[in-house]
Symmetry: C3
Subunit: 477 residues, 3 copies
């Protein structure tokens, strides 16, 4: 890899404090963990890539079109989504000129100054594709063709990249009715680097999801259960969890609007479920159903050992017009204020003291870190805190997370890093940022005599590698 | 200007990080922008000053009595407002001994340690009046007379100060029924440095404002429209916007209690307006009316190109007794928790994707920065974030703003600095603080290899000067 | 004290910034205040210790079992409370093997990396007991026996420790019906170092407290008042306040769930009280009663000069199962989102402008610092801000407090440090942390030329010592 003309942003000391003492310790810590394998226990890459192992098509389709971090910023500055190659849901989109999209991106690359997208992208350009200059309007075409040429080689096929990136474990996320064909093929091919799935049953749990009724039927067909009956529905979910576990899953994931949980009696559950199925439930009852189902999922996790992840508090598809024209995941999801303490109480009253349950909480509302999440995780045996999420998966966001969470929850009620990405090529970049920032935080504690060097080296390894494996019960892979 | 005995707080490196590397870069960046003209696109100075160009009276009436930052702190420590020369609304106040008020201020100057008021005031003393020692109880009288002597000279007349301060643009703020006499005179006199107005229609939009009914009548008289009729009312507002634009206005400003917006049908609007006009509206309906009017204002902005500013979330005149005795703007306004995501949805659903609309959001609830505001501004084309506002217009507040906003909204969804002040003499001080802090933030990114030096120099200029002009459409002045 | 092999965490420069300039100033400031006497105006030590002056029993009973910071972290990692020697409320607990508990703690000492508990505990080991190595699984028994041996000596009796710790004032906290026997004995014995009580009437004010009815009866018996009658109840409270003042109390303290206050008419109060006493009040009425009582307490404070403290916003005993089995204060209290601006308005409208009232506000919801608390304290004469509380009584928490509060409230609307602890041996450690962090914050301001060195030295003394005495009206002791 050409590092003769390392661009500024790939400086070997990037993201460390400029304080000499902190920087020196950061470097020592980072050097001890930078080559550790990547454990990616929660993310959204496409399993088809690893099943089929086809070459990626071109820079734009790989790096721009699927990355809502990238096109939301461009859109915010007045560049239309069609200009960026985003397809309409009605199929009426014009032919996309991928080179032209790339040029628009390059021309506006300055918009990303100070953002994590810029850091990840520069890493990909430099470390993955060997560029030694910054992308700009003038060299856009050069970048485009050089990237495309690389993508056409065997060394850039998905499985080769898994190896090159030193990825020990990569989890994707699939809906409850997914057939897991790609994961089956991955398994059959005996892939060295493990690609596993995650059970994400929102589509059959959230009555407000489009196509919910049809999903319930499919769930019944797949499991041969009567999913219009409360017990049958639960049995069907249990079966699907088993099916997912057989394809490697160690965790479930839930994208509820709030952290609300409930603990209804069996009779109340049945009656509520009947309303849900017959489409007579009010929106409050729909929320109550999701709340109850989170508790049901916790109960099933206790039975089958799957880790329970909750990613709440996002107003999805806030921009109605963009959603209607271009569909979901188009950069229009906006975090909202949420609360955990009262919301989680029903579930925690039932299962909170179970030492065998692992319940990982995420938030986009950072005001919860010190007020609710660290105190909860610093008490309940089942709770752990997921890393800084989404908009907070950034140098500043990660630093705030450690600064605000550590004193009350400690390090060992956190679970290492999640890249949570669909941008496959950015995975090493994201883990690199996380490792650098964690080492920076530990270095600060050492430099201020709040932590011994010995402990810092152990923690650096734990935060970079061990805690993720342990928290997601991936220790035996 | 005497700088032989520069006081500590006018140290040339003040407000920069004490880290050598960051400080050196900060200085280079700051030196490149410190002499740029001041663009002050949002503030509350008195246009009469610039129209009449009379000398200011004395230090107390200029620097203490109008500055609620100053007297709220003194009041919080048990000093009565009358002791500070604040007049009762009933006109019963005793004669004010301005020198005595000044002495009380000087005696308690230590209360301002660590506050932005102290930074601004020290700058005024040192840079504007040439003092080289700190104000204290002993030298209070010396300060008072020296300031008064300066104020009596031609060099300290308002228009001379505009030039001395290198103010390229200064916007004041006037109510919808204001005759803009002073602005007319300013224009007629062909003032080199532009002083423009801003359209602030709260008085004719918020039914809870004292004198609302009378204001609606005056609005009708000024525009020859039937303002008791929904369409007439809207026409009247359009006319007043045009009138303000003719006096230089490029923006409107709205001080609503919340960020609530609405998108009612024309019929619903008419019915709601009838209730408002007939004083039969409930407080919920009054809130709904304000919400609808924000959307109407956005629609008019799209027609006439005026920038829409929203400054929500303040509990005004929280101290009832002080309000009743001394009136509004007496340091009794307290921020409250607010939310933007759901509140703004009706307006954003209607106009959010308009690239011609410029909607600038402010907040005093910093928990919104990462949770709501940066994600919203990083997506919607019409949205930009105003700078750290009011209590947060301070070194720490500005740093938090950049640290929390930049990673998701970038720099280019922000609009440069607003001094937002009625304290005319502090304007250079405030812009100086903003430039120093922005340069400090950029220097940190450079020192940590997160931004190139080249980009930092360009951004320093953008944040200090260019973005304010562009955001407030002041580029052609 | 053996400092030959000072452990890393007792480094003389610990908790200061690693920036050379800031560190040097921090050291100068800290050296000027480190030996000042300790004023501890709010805490929860057991007055019996100082009355009886018996030796403490052993390391586990003194340092582990009463410290919910310690056992909540261990519990969060799956260690049962019984394993930690916590007794069941039903008395069914097995014999505790104190050495074994100590070993479990030592074995898991790494869980406290980065937490304040670790900092306090290391200080106690090193500075109080003279250890020069870190506690670990291997040396656990050595620590245990050495600590126990020390505890058996006269030098480690409670009163000797008060002197050794240089504690000038120590306030405990007792319920309204407490007989203050221990405080009486302390007074009779003419203790040099003052131990006083604090009036905490939650037990007779909060109808949701267990045993409330019985408490009201006892209140009547103690005061010979008819406490089932509103006026009698108020008289009884006045009497108890007087009784507490006679035992040194200068302050009251209130642990309400929210900051709600009310200002009902006398007739409304009577009617509400009748419902409370007859147990027919709804939970809203119970909340209203607490709200009204806060205003009543403010009125009495104005009469008798006692400082009013409010510690709101905690969901107590969130873990129902732990609460039922092991009782209160077992690490299951979780902060919740609260608001102050509207909640406090009734009380502030009545008494907010009284310069003789001292009302000290605390929070666990840090999003209130800049939004509500600093602006309120920077205006109302009666209000002061208590220091960073509970989970925020930590290096990072204290730094956030100063960074977020100072610019709007200044230093002089804060009240110095409260250790707020029941862990007697950690008191010097906690004050040491507070002094170091305040000096660090001041040093940063000096190094960035935002504060003069002269002012910093004065402020260091004020924050470490003077403000606490003044705020709690302890200046005359």
């Amino acid at each position: 890899m050409n590092t003769k003309h390392t661009p500024y942003n790939l400086h070997p000391d990037r993201l460390f404090s400029s304080d000499t003492k902190e920087r020196e310790i950061s470097k020592l810590l980072y050097n001890s963990v930078k080559s550790l394998p990547i454990v990616s226990p929660h993310g959204h890459t496409d399993p088809r890539w690893f099943a089929d192992n086809d070459n990626f098509s071109n820079a734009t389709e790989l790096l721009i079109i699927p990355d809502h971090y990238v096109f939301r910023m461009l859109y915010s500055q007045g560049i239309g989504l069609e200009q960026l190659g985003i397809r309409r849901v009605d199929g009426s989109s014009a032919e996309v000129d991928f080179l032209q999209v790339w040029k628009v991106f390059a021309q506006h690359y300055y918009l990303f100054h100070g953002t994590p997208s810029r850091i990840w992208m520069d890493y990909v350009f430099c470390e993955v594709f060997g560029f030694s200059v910054e992308l700009n309007a003038e060299n856009a075409e050069f970048f485009y063709h050089k990237i495309n040429a690389a993508l056409a080689t065997d060394a850039f096929r998905p499985r080769a990249l898994l190896q090159q990136f030193n990825i020990e474990l990569l989890a994707t996320t699939e809906g409850a009715t997914n057939c897991l064909t790609h994961h089956k093929k991955i398994k059959q091919d005996g892939l060295n680097n493990t690609v596993i799935t995650t059970f994400r049953p929102d589509d059959v749990i959230d009555p407000q999801v489009k196509g919910f009724s049809r999903n319930i039927e499919v769930l019944g067909e797949l499991t041969n259960e009567d999913t219009h009956n409360w017990q049958g529905y639960l049995h069907a979910l249990r079966q699907r969890r088993e099916f997912f576990r057989a394809h490697g899953a160690t965790a479930t994931d839930h994208g509820h609007a709030t952290a609300l949980t409930a603990d209804l009696s069996s009779l109340e559950c049945q009656r509520l479920f009947e309303k849900i199925i017959s489409k007579t439930a009010s929106s409050e009852e729909q929320e109550l159903f999701r709340a109850q189902m989170l508790t049901e999922m916790a109960g099933m996790s206790l039975e089958d050992g799957m880790v329970l992840q909750l990613h709440p508090g996002v107003h999805r598809n806030h921009n109605t017009s963009v959603f209607q024209t271009f569909g979901a995941d188009k950069g229009c999801d906006i975090p909202v204020n949420i609360e955990y303490v009262n919301s989680l109480k029903p579930l925690l009253s039932k299962y909170g003291n179970e030492t065998k349950l692992r319940f990982i909480l995420f938030t986009l509302d950072e005001s919860n870190y010190t007020r609710e999440l660290a105190p909860l995780a610093g008490h309940y045996p089942c709770l752990k805190l997921g890393p800084a999420w989404w908009f907070n998966d950034s140098p500043e966001g990660m630093l705030r997370f450690r600064h605000q969470v550590t004193e009350t929850a400690g390090f060992y009620n956190t679970v290492g890093f999640n890249d949570d990405t669909r941008a496959f090529l950015s995975i090493p970049a994201r883990h690199d940022v996380a490792r650098r920032i964690d080492c920076r935080f530990l270095a600060k504690l050492v430099a201020e005599h709040r932590l011994s060097e010995t402990a810092a080296f152990e923690l650096a390894r734990d935060l970079s590698y061990r805690l993720a494996k342990e928290a997601y019960q991936a220790a035996d892979f």
